[in-house]
């Protein structure tokens, strides 16, 4: 069976959508030469300079130009090399793009995608390793996608490009090298807003996004050896959030561990936990627990970085604690 890497899946989605719709255009730093993560490799050669535009180091101009092009009827896909750099163009994302449709009474439409590499674990340090999907989740008006598999990377990015709303796609940089079976056919689409149940078990629900889904799956394997069966839910999108899938699983298992890489002090897991508290309280058999990124800037040395990141071991320990009736201290202070 043919294999596909997560990295190749990005290019496959872009290639598919650019071939299908000539209004899809790319812009970003070094995208023409394939980008520093080689996720846009070959696209300029195939589609030419009118479709793939190398920009100056100007994140505000990149995000703003995407907004303008979308306003004028194109479907731009902008790249922010590292999602940490969103901080330099947050005005464009949070104040302009997210609000344009609403505050003009629907006169402006923003069919655009901004892709950014996200997440840590590679020793890139505090300014190139953050998981910042929680920044976006504070802002109504943008959709948030973060795939965990090559298959989803392809299908969700394609769906994001076709979506009529602004979508931020967070590509976890530790996943680029991961491989899976290439989806059959050469057209692939995964709808936004549908979580995937990666594994089925009635004792505990493990909820992950992007790289933490793999941690949940590993933890589930370890838990199975102890006779604990886990549901593993891959949220895939934070907005729209498939709360129905989360609630259905929590009502069945009564125990939930939420695994997020962004800092726990205000991560997306807090929003999911609040939904569970408000809407599934009577079905819960234990408190909802979060395994989150540490509430410190990300350090570099291997042991230190590992200490502040979620891991399969931490997830398994949290889940075991819940099934044993203990409330584990999962999140580092």
């Amino acid at each position: 069976m043919a294999q596909l890497t997560f990295r190749e899946a990005v290019a496959a989605a872009l290639d598919q959508e650019m071939a299908r719709d000539e209004t899809v255009v790319l812009l970003g730093e070094d995208v023409g030469s394939g980008g520093v993560f080689k996720t846009t490799a070959g696209l300029k050669e195939r589609f030419g300079p009118d479709r793939v535009w190398d920009t100056p180091i100007s994140e505000q101009a990149i995000a703003g130009a995407a907004m303008g092009a979308a306003t004028a009827g194109l479907r731009p896909v902008a790249e922010i090399m590292f999602s940490d750099f969103y901080a330099t163009c947050w005005d464009q994302v949070a104040n302009e793009i997210a609000k344009a449709c609403y505050m003009t009474g629907g006169q402006l439409r923003m069919p655009l995608v901004i892709r950014g590499t996200n997440g840590g674990g590679l020793g890139f340090g505090a300014q190139h390793s953050q998981s910042v999907e929680n920044w976006a989740m504070c802002v109504p008006g943008i959709k948030i996608v973060s795939p965990s598999t090559p298959d989803d990377m392809w299908g969700l990015l394609a769906a994001a490009i076709r979506d009529p709303e602004p979508v931020l796609v967070f590509e976890h940089k530790a996943l680029f090298g991961t491989k899976a079976e290439r989806p059959a056919g050469d057209h692939h689409l995964v709808p936004l807003g549908e979580a995937a149940l990666r594994r089925r078990g009635d004792d505990v629900t493990l909820i992950g996004l992007a790289r933490t889904v793999g941690m949940c799956e590993q933890a589930a394997t370890a838990l199975a050896e102890d006779g604990i069966a886990a549901d593993v839910i891959d949220l895939r999108c934070l907005v729209p959030l498939d709360a129905a899938t989360v609630l259905a699983s929590a009502r069945r298992t009564g125990r939930v561990v939420i695994v997020e890489e962004n800092p726990g002090q205000l991560g997306w897991g807090a929003a999911v936990a609040a939904i569970l508290a408000e809407e599934a309280f009577h079905d819960l058999r234990a408190p909802v627990v979060r395994v989150s990124g540490g509430n410190v800037p990300l350090p570099v040395a291997t042991a230190m970085e590992a200490a502040v990141m979620p891991s399969a071991e931490k997830v398994a320990a949290a889940a075991r604690g819940l099934t044993e009736g203990r409330i584990p201290a999962a999140t580092p202070a």
Binding site: Q60, G64, M67, C101, Y102, G105
Partner: protein, 350 residues
């Protein structure tokens, strides 16, 4: 080289002005330009009164005294061209043809407001007329304007984008990133800096290390230093026609500095006490409407009686419009939960 005399906080400046290659120009219809400016002036004068009566929701930033820029540039655009402005944007929307009634409904919080009650004064938008919005984060819209021009360039549809902003805005990063990108990609965009000599309460001279906020920065982006008297509607139109023509021909962006003066405060809530009364009085003598009316009276194009009658008529129309809109219903709360997404919905989860 042509010169423009502009009165600035530094006194009278007689500046050499680079002019872009001339476009084919027809003589301006001065009466028409005058009437357009007058409608905007009377509209905003009415808004000022309504604000003082406590009837306008939120702040309003008026462009009293700056009408010649909105009208002069709009006169150089075609339908299908794009324009974008700031929170001081009533004039820019109206100059492209937005409905006075729909704008006023938005300001007064009535059903049928141009943004459905979700924008207010600072976000007036009329896509139908090519006016793609008013933006209230200083400089935030300049990259957007560049993106719209980029779309025109990709489609090769001959469209031009005009983007308005203030003198103070030339100090924010988004301005520099956007002008640079437009120049590097040679995009069909006309940047219009309305230099009204103040950023809020601070004289612009206090916060720029050069004399001219836009023109003196132009060379950093390979652009010509264009300065025009922003209180002379015919001169603004002429400059804009040349810049628009250059953009349409594919020769890239222009950065125009139009020197003007804000006759009122920064917003309706500001009395402008930081400005010397003599300075304001001197500026009033250069009011673009007074100037054009005087000019037309001298040339015989429009007599004083006629222009007085016109003022009376338009003022009456604005009074009547306001009286009518004030009688109209206000939107109910349910609308707040709609329209975040383009299908009209607003849910973030199932």
């Amino acid at each position: 080289m042509p010169r423009a005399t502009c009165v600035t906080t530094f006194g009278e400046v007689d500046a050499p002005v680079a002019t872009p290659p001339r476009a084919e120009q027809t003589a301006p219809d001065l009466r028409d330009l005058y009437e357009r400016m007058l409608r905007i002036r009377q509209f905003e004068a009415k808004v000022d009164v309504l604000y003082r009566q406590g009837r306008v929701r939120g702040p309003a930033h008026l462009g009293l005294g700056q009408e010649a820029i909105a009208v002069g540039v709009a006169a150089a655009l075609r339908s299908g061209d794009f324009s974008l402005g700031t929170y001081r944007g009533h004039a820019h929307a109206l100059a492209r043809g937005a409905s006075e009634e729909a704008v006023l409904r938005e300001l007064l919080g009535r059903v049928g407001g141009i943004c459905g009650g979700k924008g207010g004064s600072m976000h007036i938008t009329s896509v139908e007329h090519g006016y793609y919005g008013s933006y209230a984060i200083v400089g935030g819209h300049i990259p957007t304007a560049v993106g719209m021009a980029w779309a025109s360039r990709i489609r090769r549809d001959g469209g031009v984008t005009a983007c308005f902003f203030g003198d103070g805005t030339t100090n924010i990063g988004a301005f520099h990133e956007a002008v640079n990108l437009a120049a590097v990609w040679s995009l069909p965009v006309v940047f219009v800096c309305e230099n009204n000599l103040y950023m809020e309460y601070t004289p612009i001279g206090d916060v720029i290390p050069v004399e001219r906020p836009a023109a003196d920065r132009a060379s950093a982006y390979g652009l010509a230093p264009l300065v025009v008297d922003g209180n002379d509607v015919a001169a603004v139109r002429e400059m804009a026609l040349a810049a628009v023509d250059r953009a349409r021909r594919g020769d890239g962006p222009s950065l125009v500095e139009a020197v003007t003066y804000r006759l009122g405060g920064h917003s309706v809530a500001d009395g402008g006490a930081y400005r010397h009364p003599d300075e304001v009085a001197a500026a009033r003598t250069r009011d673009p409407l007074v100037r054009l009316a005087t000019e037309m009276a001298q040339s015989g194009e429009m007599g004083v009686d006629e222009s007085d009658a016109l003022v009376t008529r338009v003022k009456g129309e604005m009074d009547a419009l306001a009286a009518r809109v004030l009688e109209e219903p206000t939107p109910d709360a349910a609308g707040a939960w709609t329209g975040m997404w383009s299908d009209g919905s607003a849910a973030w989860r199932n």
